[in-house]
Symmetry: C2
Subunit: 243 residues, 2 copies
Amino acid sequence: MQSVQSPLTRKLGSFVVLSSAELKTLDDLHRRRRNFVAGRDLMHQGQTDQAAYILSDGWVCSYKLMRDGKRQIVDFQIPGDFLGLRSVLFHTADHNIEPITPVTASEVLASDLIDAFASSPRLATAVLWAASRDEAMVVEHLVSIGRRSALERTAHFFLELSARLKLVGLGTVEGYACPLSQYMLADALGLSAVHVNRVLRELREEGLLTFQKGKVTIHDFEKLVDVADFDRTYLDDYGPLLR
Amino acid sequence: MQSVQSPLTRKLGSFVVLSSAELKTLDDLHRRRRNFVAGRDLMHQGQTDQAAYILSDGWVCSYKLMRDGKRQIVDFQIPGDFLGLRSVLFHTADHNIEPITPVTASEVLASDLIDAFASSPRLATAVLWAASRDEAMVVEHLVSIGRRSALERTAHFFLELSARLKLVGLGTVEGYACPLSQYMLADALGLSAVHVNRVLRELREEGLLTFQKGKVTIHDFEKLVDVADFDRTYLDDYGPLLR
DNA sequence: CAGCAACGCTACTTTAGATCAGTTTTTAGT
DNA sequence: ACTAAAAACTGATCTAAAGTAGCGTTGCTG
């Protein structure tokens, strides 16, 4: 029994209680470690036979590029998250993945996954849960962009990141380190960089939140939750539900 | 061996080749059939211990409601689609599901799913594939709302529906039956109903597509693909990839 | 078959956020 | 330490889509 868990084990462990055999299987998925430099895409849309990865250190973003050069960032991934899981099942990648910081990740092949599922159906359920959680986030982003104002949307974004980072021990109620530029924020929020800047100023002036020099500081959590219409149960760590 | 397949079997079968034991397991998921009337929600956000369903007939929409009454439709589901799969794994529903037409669906419990996965890891992979496909659509909606204009977005929407319906045999290149109102379209596209109406007029006047009286007629597929920046490989039926 | 409720449609007005065109500040490289 | 480039920031103008208001049409339902 190991005391140091991988971020993925930690995350899945919050959903299912894992046996030591299952922990071992998860551990085995972390053979084939790879390192990537920031800025150089790790996966391209259209690329075939791409492996998936489990992110163990650093931040990346998943995005789609439009014909005219505009881009939409779908989500940022932090340690413990899968990268490009869809690409494996689809045989071809439908989005790009760019490391924002230097990154270390473990390559996972389709066959690894199928073998893991064969050794434990509970693991299959756990991975499906993780995938569903990712989808829930994408859905929330859709709602944000579709129906929330720029201010509400930005507030929601920072609260979501806060909840996610807290779960893997990378943030507190006061705030967290955040290596994103205002341009990336703009691409994620469906806004222009100029407008993001104005919204950040407003959040700061309203005493809600400050994002400066790679640090997010939450000044008034309650007011922020109210502004963003943030669901407190969203992404919460309920403790293992499936035993 | 049956010659009449359920829409789900048909869909999953386009991804993995299924053994007769696996077909039987899928069939067993269709015990517990339920009927629902249009308009009366089948699932509510916040509801706990909700079962999932496999939709066998009719259309439904999944949506989220905001504090101020605005709503965002995340996706429409057609026969063969899972309803509320996330809700089962999350123990509580994070969205609402409303039948648009009268609907028949089969109730699926978390335990059914786990049992099915235990009997066949390939089935687990197939279900993960279906879930990933749904996520890919949500991602595409996100991109649409975030970076496409109202016209492009609407064009993209109708092309996506066309591709999905063709796969389950409910549409052709010329068009398809579509029981949606302009209000629902607005809630799905992140637009106002008034603006949807204007966009539909423009699509009609440009000779691209007509949506009237519950029927979508595609006048110029190629031009529509161009306007929408629609990826032709998106949602395509590649034939079984995993053998 | 009258009357009401959806739904579809259009013109006018308003607004949130984009775009343009910079300046200032911070960061990283030689 | 000095430059170059990237990121942050600002004000002025523009525009896509929202909101508002109202009319016509269809189809229920009592």
